[in-house]
């Protein structure tokens, strides 16, 4: 690991100021991806700005019909939150399946989303639940946030402060774990918003995406049968030595049906 200057600002504005003034800065949240990257010398920032001391970025609260999760809230806290469990159980389910206990106590929702790993779990939650990504500069619709492989709509200097989730009628997340890393080979989030059904997939493409054919079918008839005939096209899906594109396409259908079957 290359030497760097470590900063621990107490306010988002200070962090933002440092981002502007340092030579080659990087924000660090839980560090679950950044730390190994630094150790392997694949990233060599001059300055590391730790968001861990900014109290405003932590915590989960209700704001009317929304649940707001601070960007620095760790996965374990989301998974165990009474508020999340009682309002958006699918989100708690998702957070509880990320990595392992150590990762879930260090990794954060903001860090995971900013990193935009194609196999991360949270993107399915952000997109599937139609969340809004709140930054220090603006609000970004979840649907517009993930733009490609490790690529988001964030501008340089922009810091995620919170995720705002509308409370749905029902939500469920299912995942096929990667046999080595535990990341999502495929993760499927299904949400009944009350006004329609959203189906979001992570792990299978360059970034999280919605399966509109399933959404339309399920909005008309919320049953596993309704999507039985819908085949997800394997074209353009991820393929690696652990899972072919055809397998991933198939798994999306299986997990979606199982998630639906879980609704009572």
């Amino acid at each position: 690991m290359q030497d760097f200057t470590f900063h621990m600002p107490a306010a988002v504005a200070d962090a933002s100021g440092l981002l502007g003034s340092c030579e080659d800065p990087k924000l660090i949240a839980g560090g679950m991806t950044l730390l190994p990257t630094l150790k392997q010398r694949l990233a060599e920032p001059t300055d590391l700005i730790d968001l861990g001391a900014i109290a405003d970025l932590k915590g989960i609260r209700r704001e009317g019909e929304h649940i707001v999760v601070g960007a620095m809230t760790c996965h374990a806290d989301v998974a165990a939150s009474e508020l999340v469990l009682s309002t958006i159980p699918g989100l708690a389910m998702l957070a509880g399946q990320i990595g392992d206990p150590a990762v879930r106590h260090r990794g954060t929702i903001g860090g995971s989303c900013a990193n935009a790993d194609p196999a991360a779990d949270y993107p399915a939650g952000i997109v599937g639940l139609g969340a809004t990504v709140v930054t220090n500069q603006r609000e970004i619709a979840g649907d517009d946030f993930f733009v490609g492989l490790f690529e988001t709509a964030l501008e340089p200097g922009e810091i995620i402060t919170a995720m705002r989730f509308p409370v749905p009628k029902w939500s469920h997340y299912m995942k096929l774990r990667h046999p080595a890393s535990g990341y999502a080979v495929v993760g499927v989030m299904i949400v009944d918003t009350g006004a329609g059904v959203r189906v979001a997939v992570t792990g299978a493409g360059p970034s999280a995406f919605r399966v509109t054919a399933m959404e339309e079918a399920l909005s008309a008839d919320f049953s596993a049968k309704a999507i039985d005939a819908i085949k997800v096209d394997a074209d353009g899906l991820n393929a690696d030595m652990h899972a072919s594109a055809a397998y991933r396409a198939h798994v999306i259908g299986v997990l979606a049906k199982r998630a639906i079957a879980a609704r009572r």
Binding site: M1, P179, Y247
Partner: protein
């Protein structure tokens, strides 16, 4: 038998120390003035080295020195070569290339060290290593095991002309063909025994210090006993007297066979310490584990077996290709043959056996001993054949096995490969495993699984090992004047729990309380000269026997002293539970030890002290034969291809069990590694020889979630060839698990007509097979 004696489930003495961070591993060793070494490794699988430009790196901050293979050669540093020699039936010897510690002229696998950078800090060394400019010309490469036998495959060693180092056969194939022809039923299996990265928890490390005044080189490194590495470094590499080479391993975080090897980096670090005049520390990271620790397994087997009308095997032919990697490991080429593979035909009585092995070179990390070392591969092959035989004959899987196992009344049984199996209850193992796994009730459980859309399967795997490793070991037992006992071991516990088991033996044999026994090991300066180390499931046997014999000598000497103290005749002195008695008088072993310091208490001419050692020497062809039967039950989710173990029953015969608590641990660990191979682990090189599974992100280690409870049972049949009655215990699980597991999955997949899939049975692979089977049916 006391609370801490033989057979008691005594809690491990070493655990508190190890689990509270008090262990001392090599990375905990720091020497004043040390510099840090970082190796420059080849990013190419196969290439000519045109030049190495070290100047930019030498100019970097903190850099002390940079050495290449040319520097080593100029200083007369030796090379590594395999210990194995073999030849084909015509007497043509195996091609045995030498390996320079740092690559010169060519690199032959990705990760091969090319240069070493020494700097004041670890970070400076790493940064400078990136500045070492190696100019490579890429050469065509070969990674595939089966592909390497093709005469047109790119040669790793053009001087040999072929990638096949030798074609070893036990006899002419034609001798078996006549038997094969009279078989009523013939079955064949083709197996890829997947390559594994052993991954001990502690990555490799080394700290070397050279004392110019005394000429003593001291190396700290994780090993499985330093004596062999001491000898190899002194004689083969540094060319110094062995007594000027000291190797110290305090704690070592897992060995599995591969930590016992003399790796090139150890030689380089020692030499660099002498050359630079500074202590040198190298801390290998996990990425280096993947590309430079020796790998395990990697065989391709083709086997044919013939059975008569009664389901008895009449002939067996096995063709094995072993991928040795780019160089030959110390023992690597031996594994399919004398190193473990010759335990084929396993627990079965098969008179007509042909066995052919081709060790082949590829542009990959060398392979060598890894938990089981040839025996898991051999047993897996044999058990897949038995399942195939069940399919072909219509006999049940257990029945075809029962008809062929070596019965107790046939023992001692000499195998076709010259191994004398002294004992074992192979039918009893199967009975016990099938009873405790409720084999009879399986059909009902299968139906229950069907209701939830799962396919349930049950599988059985027999196994036998040849355990014991090298034929010599030396142990020393000392009772100090304070009455406490010390075992100076030639073996080396690196996870096995010797501190505990050896203390149990001392309490049992000498009556010195368990708590008063300590273990000294892991330092060539203090371990007995005849030390060999711990590998090959040998320590309870070789180490245990050494303690037994040393203890006998302690008692014999103690009896003489006690006789003098008690003013009796030596013949009249008895010894029991730590007390020497003669008539009405008695004296404890502790009192004798104290008295033994005073010449006045000793018979004439006797040396003071109570300190005896014993050099165990056995026939090199004498082994013991741990054996067992494992039954595994799985559920397969056919829509996702996920296999989940739902029940596991392990019956093991490790002979007399010295500590069931510790042996259970060995069974659990071995099963976990066996299931790792069968379910999650795979080492993948692409066609260019690039390693695709170079980290835990891509290389799947087995995890707790993959397992059910493991019911570990013993079918204890004492070994007849050693006084303790023990058999090895360390490698059994890894031998039994893959076959039982794969058998279970194939049982579950039987409705699809799928009869064999190569390991690991990952979701994608299982689903793919089901999808293909479905489309075949549809077509």
């Amino acid at each position: 038998m006391g609370q801490f004696g033989i057979g008691q489930p005594v809690r491990r003495k070493e655990d508190v120390r190890l689990l509270t961070g008090k262990g001392v591993y090599t990375d905990d060793v720091n020497i004043d003035g040390q510099v840090f070494a970082v190796f420059v490794r080849s990013p190419q699988a196969h290439a000519t080295i045109n030049s190495i430009d070290i100047q930019p790196a030498l100019a970097a901050e903190g850099v002390i020195a940079i050495y290449t293979g040319d520097d080593l050669a100029a200083d007369g540093v030796g090379t590594l070569e395999t210990e194995v020699e073999m030849s084909d039936l015509a007497g043509n010897p195996m091609f045995r290339p030498k390996r320079t510690l740092l690559a010169t002229g060519k690199v032959r696998f990705l990760g091969e060290p090319v240069a070493v950078v020494l700097a004041e800090t670890q970070e400076q060394a790493r940064a400078a290593a990136e500045l070492v400019m190696v100019d490579y010309d890429q050469l065509p490469s070969i990674a595939s095991t089966s592909g390497a036998v093709d005469p047109s495959s790119p040669p790793v060693w053009p001087e040999h002309g072929s990638n096949v180092s030798v074609h070893w056969e036990n006899r002419p194939a034609s001798e078996i063909d006549v038997h094969m022809e009279r078989a009523k039923t013939r079955v064949t299996v083709d197996i890829v025994n997947n390559r594994l990265v052993p991954n001990p928890m502690e990555p490799r490390a080394a700290v070397a210090q050279f004392d110019a005044e005394t000429g003593v080189m001291t190396l700290y490194a994780p090993t499985q006993g330093g004596r062999r590495i001491q000898g190899g470094l002194a004689k083969g590499i540094l060319k110094i007297p062995a007594d000027k080479m000291r190797v110290i391993s305090q704690d070592t975080g897992g060995g599995f066979g591969i930590r016992g090897k003399l790796y090139p980096e150890l030689g380089v670090v020692c030499w660099a310490a002498r050359r630079s005049g500074r202590p040198v520390k190298w801390r290998g990271d996990r990425s280096e584990t993947f590309v430079s620790d020796y790998h395990g397994r990697d065989q391709v087997n083709h086997a044919e077996m013939g059975l008569d009308e009664n389901g008895r095997v009449v002939a067996l032919k096995v063709h094995t290709i072993l991928n040795v990697g780019a160089y030959m490991g110390e023992n690597g080429p031996r594994l399919p043959i004398s190193g473990g593979g010759r335990i084929i035909p396993g627990v079965y009585d098969i008179a007509n056996f042909y066995f052919s092995v081709k060790p082949v070179f590829t542009n990959t990390v060398p392979t060598d001993t890894y938990r089981g070392a040839g025996r898991p591969e051999a047993n897996f092959l044999m058990e897949r054949l038995m399942d195939a035989a069940a399919d072909a004959t219509g006999l049940s899987r257990d029945e075809v096995r029962r008809r062929n196992v070596i019965r107790q009344d046939q023992m001692p049984y000499m195998t076709q490969m010259g191994l004398l199996i002294d004992s074992g209850d192979f039918i009893g193992n199967m009975d016990m495993a099938m009873e405790h796994s409720d084999w009879k009730g399986f059909e009902a459980r299968r139906k229950d699984s069907e209701k939830t859309g799962k396919l349930r399967g049950i599988g059985i795997g027999n196994f036998v090992e040849a355990a014991g490793g090298r034929p010599t070991e030396e142990m020393r037992v000392r009772i100090s004047p304070d009455g406490k006992a010390t075992v100076f071991a030639g073996t080396y516990s690196h996870g096995q729990g010797h501190e505990t088991v050896y203390a149990q033996l001392i309490e049992e044999y000498l009556g010195v309380p368990f708590a008063d026994v300590s273990l000294v090991q892991g330092d060539t300066a203090t371990s007995p000269m005849g030390s060999a180390g711990t590998f090959g499931s040998r320590s309870s046997w070789m180490g245990g026997l050494g303690i037994r014999k040393s203890s006998d000598a302690v008692i014999a000497k103690g009896r003489k002293i006690a006789a003098k103290l008690l003013q009796g005749e030596e013949e009249g002195v008895t010894f029991e539970n730590g007390v020497f008695s003669a008539g009405a008088g008695s004296v404890t072993i502790q009192e004798v030890a104290k008295a033994a310091q005073e010449p006045k208490n000793l018979p004439e001419g006797m040396e003071p002290g109570l300190d005896e050692s014993f050099h165990v020497k056995r026939d090199a062809e004498l082994f013991n034969f741990p054996n067992g039967c494992h039954v595994c039950e799985v559920e397969v989710d056919p829509d996702l291809g996920i296999v989940q173990i739902v029940r596991y029953t392990a019956v093991d015969d490790c002979g007399v069990v010295l500590n069931p608590f510790i042996v259970h641990g060995q069974v659990y660990g071995g099963v976990a590694q066996g299931i790792g191979q069968a379910l999650t682990e795979n080492t993948v090189y692409d066609a260019e020889g690039q390693l695709m599974t170079g980290s835990f992100m891509d290389y799947g280690m087995p995890k707790a979630q993959h397992f059910s409870h493991i019911e570990a049972l013993f079918n204890e049949v004492p070994c007849k060839t050693n006084e303790l009655g023990v058999k090895g215990a360390g490698e059994a699980g890894a031998c039994g698990a893959p076959s039982a597991f794969v058998s279970a999955v194939m049982d579950a997949l039987k409705p699809y007509g799928i009869r064999h899939l190569d390991m690991p049975l990952t979701p994608d692979r299982v689903w793919q097979a089901i999808a293909e089977a479905k489309s075949d049916k549809a077509a």
